[in-house]
């Protein structure tokens, strides 16, 4: 997750990528996912911690996570 470490992520969900000058905004769940990714958590671990904290089942949490990851990839924020 070296790419994510070079990105400034603020507590209110604002992301800044110094290498390109691009910025992004995300919501609460997005922020949680980004921070867990930074900690090197696996996708399963991320899904589990979301399920623990939020009212969501595994299928939906998983589907949304993978969509989110695809988006991060598209924006070159993760590998």
């Amino acid at each position: 997750m070296s790419k994510l470490n070079s990105i400034a992520i603020s507590d209110n969900g604002f992301l800044f990528k110094p290498s390109t000058g691009e910025s992004f905004t995300t919501n609460e769940i997005g922020l949680i996912i980004l921070n867990l990714l930074k900690e090197g958590k696996t996708h399963e671990e991320i899904i589990n911690s979301i399920m623990e904290e939020f009212d969501v089942d595994e299928i939906n949490a998983g589907r949304d996570l993978y969509e989110f990851l695809d988006f991060l990839k598209k924006e070159n924020l993760i590998d």
Partner: protein, 451 residues
Amino acid sequence: MMNKKIYERPVLRKVVEGIPNKFGSLKRLRPIEFIDNVSINSLIDKYGSPVFVLSEKTIRETYRSAYRAFSTRYPKVQFAWSYKTNYLDAVCRIFHQEGSWAEVVSGFEYEKALDNGISGNKIIFNGPDKSKKDLIRAIKNNSLIHIDHFDELYTIIELSKELEETPQVAIRINMDTGIIPQWDRFGFNYENGEAWNAVNRILSTGKIELIGLHTHIGTYISTSKAYEIAIRKLAELANKTYERFQTSIEYIDIGGGFASQNTLQGAYLPATDTTPSFDDYAHAITTAMIAEKFPNNIAPTLILETGRALIDDAGWLAGTVLANKRLADGNRAMVIDTGVNLMFTAFWYDHEIYPVKETSFQSEPTTIYGPLCMNIDVIRKKIDFPLLNKGDRFVIKRVGAYTMTQWMQFITYRPNIVLIDENEEVHLIRKEEDKEVFRRQELIPDHLKND
């Protein structure tokens, strides 16, 4: 139990500013130096210029994200690799290792699939051109024969008697899904009742098993809605078939057609912003599959023959600048060593081309030509491009689909193709041609030989 918080799906939005930089051009084209951490310069040094480069990592990741998109939403999903999109053996074997069956449209592709270790009952045989010999082999191997027209159907009926075997077939169906052009030259038409006639003809013989319904509504379908319409029509036919013959259709094959992230010429926005994701397609298709009631409430297997969207991103073409020119009208032109001979796709895509090394901020509207002595050999028209010099290298992105099968051998040899594996090792998977390749194919009549 503790009260859980209300869940909201994660979102990410890009903040768009629109501040042009002081050099006038909107953004500087960043060079691409590496593919999977392998330097493009080292690949050209070793394998020559031009060279096609395939990323095994990208192929597997793309396949897995497509498979995940469907399999997390629908219980029975099977991909069949569309050979025509890229039938290099190494590529096919990667898809087969991932679990894909083979989708072939000719005796040649059929033989390739067998050689790649796929068993006959996992080969889907499509297309209008199946010889009698092809059909006999396919019947004996229990392959899934997708019938294209009545003449083929009658040949299969005859063969089922001759061979005393029960062929397993599906019919290909064309229909109006709102997509233009309608691919009505393949298969049996839905709206005019031809498809229903074919079903009747097949099942009234009692000698042929109708196990699937197939459609391929077109290629580069950028609206997932069309698939919903197709599924509704196929489901209706499946139900009608069950009511009349008590035959359950085991699978619905929705064909290929997902758009890749290459931008079509004339498109207003880049395809990376507009192309539906696998999740978008999967959502539309599986929602439609689940909404339809199939006979006995048994969900048929969903087969996908996705081609371009699974391989385009994994292919790259690296090459060298041959010359720079000024055209008569003063515009800049750059001639490169890869033309439409290797990229048929340049006729409809705006291929993305990048310098391999850092360039200055300067750029100029440039038309990029291939090396062929033909006026149609244009790779990009008037794009803002940095000033590369003769001998500088470039790389073209997303050329994995249809290039390495539709390429033509015109005035020069076809180049090496290498595969970068997941450990970043480079493998030559197709050798460049040389004059012996062509000499072997040609025969000189005695009276033209110089002794």
